[in-house]
């Protein structure tokens, strides 16, 4: 997944676009798909390689489906969050190297 994100960014740049954006609805992670238990590791890695493909991504976690403890962990791997309709810096974010 990480590798494909890089390729997608490269293709967009070569096509003349200034960048790329992605949005993901994350409830697939609750369907028992093999590897989905490593979702937080994946999300964290996306932050670690952002220098190689500085894309913008928005992960949509349905708070009705994910339990509160998982949502708190999700917060720790996202540098920005939506709060009251505004994009704000997330004080719970832990940098990948920390």
């Amino acid at each position: 997944m990480i590798e494909r994100s890089g390729k997608r960014y490269k293709i967009a740049k070569e096509a003349g676009f200034s960048g790329s954006r992605a949005s993901g609805e994350m409830s697939w992670a609750l369907k028992g798909i093999p590897g989905s238990d490593r979702i937080l590791e994946y999300e964290s890695l996306l932050n670690a390689v952002k220098d190689e493909f500085p894309h913008s991504g928005m992960c949509q976690y349905d708070a009705r489906l994910f339990d509160g403890a998982t949502l708190l962990k999700v917060l720790q791997v996202h540098p920005y969050i939506f709060a009251h309709g505004q994009v704000v810096q997330n004080p719970y974010f832990i940098k990948p190297n920390d």
Binding site: G68, H84, P91
Partner: protein, 135 residues
């Protein structure tokens, strides 16, 4: 996180350096309350969040019949709490006349979650380093 790791983490964190980060996190936590759809999710979100505050050894987020605890909080007395009514509706209130049974225990802080008219539950926090809370 096991208790020893948590204790070690707390001991290393200087109070002055922690304040800004922790205050920012608490303010963000208030904003996130509105996206949590029910008491079960609210309790399971705030319990590990409270445990991440320096000086908190263990905690219990009590919202009437829904609760979540972290850090090995010993909550045997809660099984007999009159505020547990067996109601599973999403947003019920608890009686203001019945205080939390932990209210006067040493090393434990109870914070009622209430408006002037209604009480929704309590944060029950066991303190590891009382000095961090006596400002």
């Amino acid at each position: 996180m096991i208790d020893d790791e948590k204790k070690s983490e707390n001991e290393q964190l200087p109070l002055s350096g922690a304040n800004g980060i922790i205050l920012g996190q608490l303010m963000a936590a208030q904003n996130l309350l509105f996206v949590l759809p029910n008491k079960k999710n609210i309790a399971s979100f705030y319990a590990p969040l409270l445990l991440s505050i320096p000086g908190v050894r263990s905690c219990r987020v009590c919202l009437g019949d829904f609760f979540s605890k972290e850090g090995g909080f010993q909550d045997e007395p809660c099984s007999n709490c009159p505020n547990r009514k067996g109601i599973d509706d999403e947003f019920s209130t608890i009686s203001k006349d019945i205080g939390c049974q932990y209210a006067h225990k040493p090393s434990i802080y109870t914070i009622s979650l209430e408006t002037s008219e209604y009480r929704f539950g309590n944060f029950v926090i066991e303190i590891d380093q009382s000095g961090l809370f006596e400002l």
